[in-house]
Symmetry: C2
Subunit: 201 residues, 2 copies
């Protein structure tokens, strides 16, 4: 219940939980929209079928993420949602949510703010992917992900997850970390990664 924890209790209680087996479909392109979702466990893939039924992955939603937000404002789902692994999702039904937004502008604003921040985060990640060098991409990430005012990024997932977020193979990440540490550019501990002050580079 991370993503929407600011919702009024009454509304949160309307949400329901659903377990999905790997490969199970949550909704299909063309289905009438009835809810937006939050991943609690596992991964859910959003897939669009292009011409000739060729499936194209639009997004792979991970725990804590909201998905199908646009369903609030559309009649039909625009893509399929399929569990990539066994998963649990929380469904927030569309009707009550929209009604609440209409009744309470402050709530609507809160939701807009959530969406706006999401956009920022996505743009930053995309910008990061424009950096070709693994070393510089990682440094960029560390600078941004460090707790504000500090130079330490705490890592909550595994390094494999971090590699995926960076768009690197885990091997490349390990090597880059090792190289940066050898050069004295970072320091590692079990809790996180610390940038060391470094005039050059």
């Amino acid at each position: 219940m991370r993503a929407l924890d600011w919702l009024p209790t009454a509304l949160r209680e309307r949400s329901t939980c659903r377990a999905l087996k790997a490969g199970e479909t949550l909704f299909r392109q063309g289905d009438k929209t009835f809810a937006i979702f939050e991943v609690e466990q596992g991964r859910v893939r959003l897939i669009r079928h292009a011409v000739d039924q060729h499936p194209v992955v639009l997004h792979s939603a991970r725990p804590g993420e909201l998905f199908a937000e646009a369903a609030l404002f559309a009649e039909r789902y625009q893509c399929d949602a399929v569990a990539a692994t066994a998963a649990r999702v929380r469904a927030y039904p569309k009707g009550p949510l929209l009604a609440a937004f209409r009744a309470d502008p402050a709530l609507a604003e809160r939701f807009m703010a959530v969406l706006a921040h999401q956009i920022h985060a996505l743009r930053a990640r995309l910008e990061e992917r424009n950096i070709r060098s693994a070393r510089r991409r990682l440094l960029h990430h560390l600078a941004l992900a460090a707790a504000p005012g500090s130079r330490t990024m705490k890592l909550d997932g595994t390094l494999i997850d971090l590699a995926a977020e960076l768009g690197l193979t885990h091997e490349a990440l390990y090597r880059t970390l090792a190289a940066l540490e050898k050069d004295g550019a970072i320091r590692r501990s079990r809790a996180g990664i610390t940038l060391r002050r470094h005039p050059a580079l």
Copy 2:
């Protein structure tokens, strides 16, 4: 006036235009928020200063794009906005916009829908970047960017722009296009690029 063309005329008329010279600053991290912006010409970079003043590019906004949406819901800008090239931006002042959203839930919903679609588009682009092979990344892009129901993507910008969007160098894009064309997987014309029906790959 693309991005917010659904705004009531009264509100659109409140927006103002501003020309920026290359390198000129539109707002700074910590400034009080007063507006959100749309790029009309040129590029505007959003830059955050990490610890030790090291600048980190968060985003590079291009013509037609809205930026600093989160300013609507924050007291202070969280990053600098600096013109990367000579640019013209349209500013939508925050006060009237928020007032309109409070007064008219339908308008608020419209804005939420814009944000939600933006999120979808960004997620799709990010997902695309996870595809390592230039060939497959391009094919993925073509499948998505083709006018719905068709297999042709019309290209409005230059191939260089397309390369940037794909996260490839333009040389790599040219070569990949040439190879795909040689293999008969696509056909090119001045207007666009057409996927050819192809059972394998």
